[in-house]
């Protein structure tokens, strides 16, 4: 048993961690002037000088910090307020979680733009005949980008919190708090939040890391000149002048440093809040006046999710539009021309192939891992390593990884892209699957062994069918993650493998909205379809099995 676990750990280390380490090392070498491809072998600080000389570098850095930290703090505050005000079921959020960032960003741009739905709705009131001259998207403050990030991170945080809350005796503890005169919201914040935080700390870090280094959403919604640091680094990497790879590498390293520094700062803030929180708790204020604030958070979440729904609807509406002039609220003519032209077919097929293979591989590896740990102590360090790809900014190591792949002759092919996507699909699949896997009643397997079923038979005939629902849910999450990947596909595919996401992002800068609408609709539809199947297949399969219909064993 310990040998198969050793094999799994080996695969994970070599397959997932080594690429990150190697990619970072390559990037770091280039950041200090060593770039053999350009004949540069001397260590130097010249790349750093080049970076500092880039116009707008300081602004880019500031924008990344403000949008990344800002969106994380806002989504966290709204999520906490929402949970404190209205603890309840969160399953209605799953569709918003499933939508790829790029599709949501395109939809939001359609709604927020000066010629978008909001401006059209306001036009009669404001007397606008032309789209107003306001930068409501790509604004220099990064507000549109922050809004987009909050809209996408909020459902993630809420679902993570809901999962954490299900492990705590919330109702009883709130009842105790209320019996002592605390308002329900304040009782939640004082009693439940401190217990919840350790369960959501890592996901919050993931959100922070993502917000600081997001590329696709920043291209679609963020300021363009100068853009956020991650987008600027991408531009430099892709610049016509290959020497720009040097400052780009420094930028990529800085991006990684930015994430590490911000996570450390959040950790420090957590320690500070613990002290302040204890002082606040000991004062014993009943905090009845908090209710309006929590109510506002609840309204805010509803409003943002409403906006998200409108954004998604606008994708479909635009994809079917023939003519839609300003300030009409609704298209004047409809057409399925672009859908019928099937220009999108190639990108769709690529996306499906990549999703199928990466999710298949990741699921197999996750099942192998979880099965190998049966009867062995957990390996927390290995589990922590799984999170590494989610905390590390993609731009920090993907360029370096591509250099290594180029040298091995692997770059630009499906294999390289599959590998790069699996770096991010596997952790999510593993996180989604491990809890229900470990929660299964082990006595069922013992009964199986007692009647003579060997290890493989227990896995295939008992465990997998009993866990069909969580397995398919994990696979659907994997599909959503794979479909959403932008940078890994772009870098490791050397721009040659076009997926729905890479096309949607490329087209988003000034192409025909009807075409973008088609790509973004498809991009959003794939995860929906995956989640739908993940719900329908077990429901049909176990239609006569009452104990499995609720979900999980």
């Amino acid at each position: 048993m310990s040998r198969s676990r050793g094999a799994v750990l080996g695969i994970v280390l070599l397959g997932l961690i080594a690429p990150i380490a190697v990619g970072l090392a390559e990037t770091a070498r280039a950041a200090f002037g060593v770039l053999p491809a350009l004949g540069l072998w001397e260590w130097s600080l010249e790349p750093w000088r080049m970076l500092l000389a880039q116009p707008g570098f300081g602004t880019s850095l500031r924008l990344s910090l403000v949008t990344g930290l800002g969106s994380t703090v806002i989504s966290l505050a709204l999520a906490v307020g929402f949970c404190a005000a209205a603890p309840g079921r969160m399953r209605w959020l799953a569709p918003f979680l499933a939508v790829p960032h790029a599709a949501m960003a395109v939809g939001l741009a359609f709604v927020l733009a000066p010629s978008g739905w909001i401006a059209r709705a306001l036009a009669p009131v404001m007397g606008w005949v032309q789209p107003p001259d306001v930068a409501s998207v790509h604004d220099g403050w990064g507000l549109a980008l922050m809004l987009g990030l909050v809209v996408k991170e909020l459902p993630f945080l809420l679902l993570v919190m809901a999962s954490g809350l299900s492990q705590l005796p919330v109702a009883r503890q709130i009842a105790v708090g209320r019996a002592m005169g605390y308002g329900p919201g304040v009782a939640w914040i004082k009693l439940i939040l401190p217990q919840l935080w350790p369960l959501i700390r890592l996901p919050v870090w993931v959100v922070l890391a993502y917000g600081l280094s997001v590329v696709d959403m920043a291209i679609i919604l963020g300021p363009s000149n100068p853009p956020t640091l991650a987008v600027a680094v991408l531009r430099w990497f892709n610049a016509a002048d290959v020497a720009m790879i040097l400052p780009a590498s420094v930028g990529a390293l800085l991006q990684a440093g930015l994430v590490v520094g911000s996570i450390l700062a959040l950790w420090g803030a957590e320690g500070l809040l613990r002290v302040v929180g204890r002082w606040w708790l000991r004062r014993g204020g009943r905090g009845v006046s908090w209710a309006p604030g929590l109510h506002m958070a609840r309204l805010g979440v509803w409003a943002l999710m409403g906006l998200a729904a409108v954004a998604l609807a606008s994708l479909l509406v635009w994809s079917l539009t023939w003519r839609w002039s300003y300030p009409m609220l609704w298209p004047e003519g409809w057409s399925d021309r672009i859908w019928m032209s099937a220009v999108w077919a190639k990108a769709l097929i690529n996306t499906l192939i990549l999703a199928g293979v990466t999710v298949g591989l990741s699921m197999a590896l996750a099942v192998f891992w979880l099965e190998a740990e049966e009867g062995l102590p957990r390996a927390p360090w290995a589990e922590a390593l799984i999170y590494l790809p989610l905390l590390m900014p993609q731009i920090g190591f993907l360029y370096g990884l591509n250099v290594v792949f180029l040298r091995a002759g692997l770059s630009g092919g499906y294999l390289a892209v599959i590998w790069a996507q699996a770096l991010f699909v596997f952790p999510y699949v593993m996180i989604a699957l491990s809890e229900p896997w470990r929660a299964m009643d082990a006595r069922l397997l013992r009964v199986g062994a007692a009647v003579g079923a060997g290890r493989w038979q227990r896995l295939i005939a008992l465990r997998l069918p009993m866990l069909l629902r969580p397995i398919l849910t994990a696979a659907a999450i994997g599909v959503a993650v794979s479909v959403a990947q932008y940078l890994p596909t772009l870098f490791l595919g050397a721009g040659r493998i076009a997926t729905l996401t890479t096309e949607a992002v490329t087209l988003s800068s000034g192409s025909d909205r009807r075409v973008i609408g088609v790509y973004a609709s498809l991009q959003a539809a794939l995860p929906f379809a995956a989640y739908g199947l993940a719900a329908l297949i077990p429901a049909w399969w176990h239609r006569n099995r009452r104990d499995l219909r609720g979900g999980g064993v």
Binding site: G375, L376, P377, D441, A442, R443, L444, R446, V447, G448, A449, A450, V451, G452, A453, G454, R455, A461, L462, P465, M466, L468, H542, N544, R545, R546, D547, L548, V553
Partner: protein, 209 residues
């Protein structure tokens, strides 16, 4: 069909959970192990059946019909297992739960089906092959679980507080049913419980752990 424990002990982190235990269960006998909860009764059964989780280590030997099975994995020991919960596999029909337990050596679709139907009939579950286990009553579930254990043709059987979740009326009925079957088949049975009535009804030796 006998079960023999020789100086069997289970320890965790170097600390023995109970004094080394030696006992013999003759075919058709039910030996009862009693003791307060937390003393390691279930762990003893895990050790005998080969189900010990990581962190536990075992010393001593387990013999089934004179054969040393200590080094064998659980699935090769032919020692059946029943818990206080029926633990029918929720994804299989009642009949398929039994078919899962039926040894592969019994070949042929019709033959296997007939064997399962016969076992169902013995348990008063005629015509319930296709039923969802979740729709059975508590007593029916317990009887189906026993039949699943028995069709596997075990040489010995371990019972972990098998009646503690049944209500009082059902309990004595189930005791008669279970012990009757075990005696008739001559299966050596070891039962852990903390209900003296279980031990009295079992009629065999009682060991305090």
């Amino acid at each position: 069909m006998s079960l023999e424990l020789i100086e069997l002990s289970v320890s965790r982190g170097g600390v023995a959970l109970f004094a080394p235990l030696s006992l013999q269960v003759a075919a058709g006998d039910v030996v009862t192990v009693m003791g307060p909860s937390g003393v390691g009764k279930s762990t003893l059964l895990d050790g005998i059946g080969g189900h010990l989780a990581h962190g536990f280590s075992q010393a001593g030997r387990v013999l089934v019909q004179g054969r040393d099975v200590t080094a064998l994995p659980a699935e090769a020991r032919r020692i059946g297992l029943m818990f206080q919960d029926a633990l029918l596999f929720p994804h299989l029909s009642v009949g398929d739960n039994l078919a899962f337990g039926l040894p592969a050596a019994i070949k042929g679709r019709a033959v296997r089906r007939a064997a399962v139907e016969a076992a169902l009939a013995q348990a008063g579950l005629e015509g319930m092959y296709a039923r969802d286990p979740a729709t059975l009553s508590g007593g029916q579930k317990a009887r189906a679980a026993l039949m699943r254990a028995l069709v596997a043709d075990p040489l010995a059987l371990l019972l972990d507080e098998p009646f503690s979740k049944l209500d009082a009326g059902l309990r004595s009925e189930m005791r008669r049913f279970l012990f009757g079957h075990l005696r008739a088949r001559g299966i050596a049975t070891l039962m852990v419980t903390h209900d003296p009535e279980d031990a009295a009804e079992a009629g065999g030796m009682v060991v305090d752990l």
